[in-house]
């Protein structure tokens, strides 16, 4: 059952104004920066975030991740949707 409050995902997700992905050389990791927010990301999460540039559809992001990782598409699709939904709830996607 879909959650009544589950956010509607944008067709071609991109990071909201005021949210930016930054490679930090001290941590040697991608970090998602927002107002009073620092989210350290690793592996798949940063691969998803780097593709949220407003040019790709959610389906294309899933396709590209499927090509990168060995997990099957359905599983990756679930992960991508969960992550994007969480970001949308935090108003980090546009």
């Amino acid at each position: 059952m879909p959650d009544a409050r589950a956010p509607v995902l944008p067709e071609r997700p991109r990071l909201a104004p005021g949210v930016r992905l930054h490679f930090d050389t001290t941590r040697n990791a991608w970090v998602l920066l927002g107002p009073e927010r620092v989210i350290e990301t690793e592996g798949p999460a940063s691969e998803i975030l780097r593709r949220c540039d407003g040019s790709r559809t959610v389906g294309q992001i899933v396709d590209e991740l499927t090509a990168l990782y060995t997990a099957d598409r359905a599983e990756i699709e679930g992960d991508v949707n969960d992550m994007l939904a969480e970001l949308a709830t935090k108003r980090m996607l546009a």
């Binding site: 956010p7 930090d24 927002g34």
Partner: protein, 320 residues
Amino acid sequence: MGVLQIHLSGGEPASRRDLVEIVASAREAGLYTNLITSAIGLDLPRLARLMQVGLDHVQLSLQDVQADGADHIAGYSGAHERKLVFAKSVVELGLALTVNTVIHRANIGSIAALVEMAASLGAGRVEIAHAQYYGWALRNRQALMPTRDQVGRAMQEVAQIRSRYQGRIVIDLVVPDYYARRPKACMGGWGHRSLNVTPSGRVLPCHAAETIPGLRFWSVRDRPLAEIWSDSPAFQAFRGTGWMPEPCRSCEMREIDHGGCRCQAMAIVGDAAATDPACELSPHHDWMQLLAGQESSHPATAYVYRGRIPRDGATAIPAR
């Protein structure tokens, strides 16, 4: 050092003539750049230039929803209207906006309206900050302190508003610690997550740290920032858990709340190394709650402002 964000605050950062240059070089260094402003003294052309050089985010303080009440609190006639115009420009430029509101006795009933105002201005985030009593707020505590009931109702209200606005606006809460049972993790721990550089170059563990007598602050004019961060006596003073008295020292929360706030211990107990009296385990907790209760029913409504000579019977809160 791995610093990720810079918050340009004050005082009023717009009063810096080199604000655009500061933002530009912060962005060149890769920092997430946040301007915390009252909007007074910041015109549209300068805002547009700030955006061009890469400003990431604007945080605008609003005092209340209605201009009369807000201007009284700000002590500046016409301020509210200018802030609203400024907020619209920020959003129109495509910049991310947070609305900051400091909550106290005169506006604690307006939280829902403040959140609605922030959302309708196009802010992505709103900070409901219960007043922290340092500096000028401490001087004005009798006129600012809400009652325990007001605070209780406000906390419930925020919980409801949060679910109502989920996905529309992010609501961050700074908790009112005079009526709390456990202290806030002030600054995320002393010398643990952030540092503060004053206009003169002194580096502080928090913006109120200069209220603690005897701390020695080093300056970026004399030493590299990384060295100050790791070795300066002020940062060493309350870093980690070694400085803690009981009951903090053996408390299972010691790495979570870091013993609360040093400046508050200083202000209330007179000893910066004491357990934050906001904690119910502090021997001074009852005294702090008593103080809050008494001040919340104090009839004072006039505020003392920075840099102005207080007058007897100054302005009174306009009737609503």
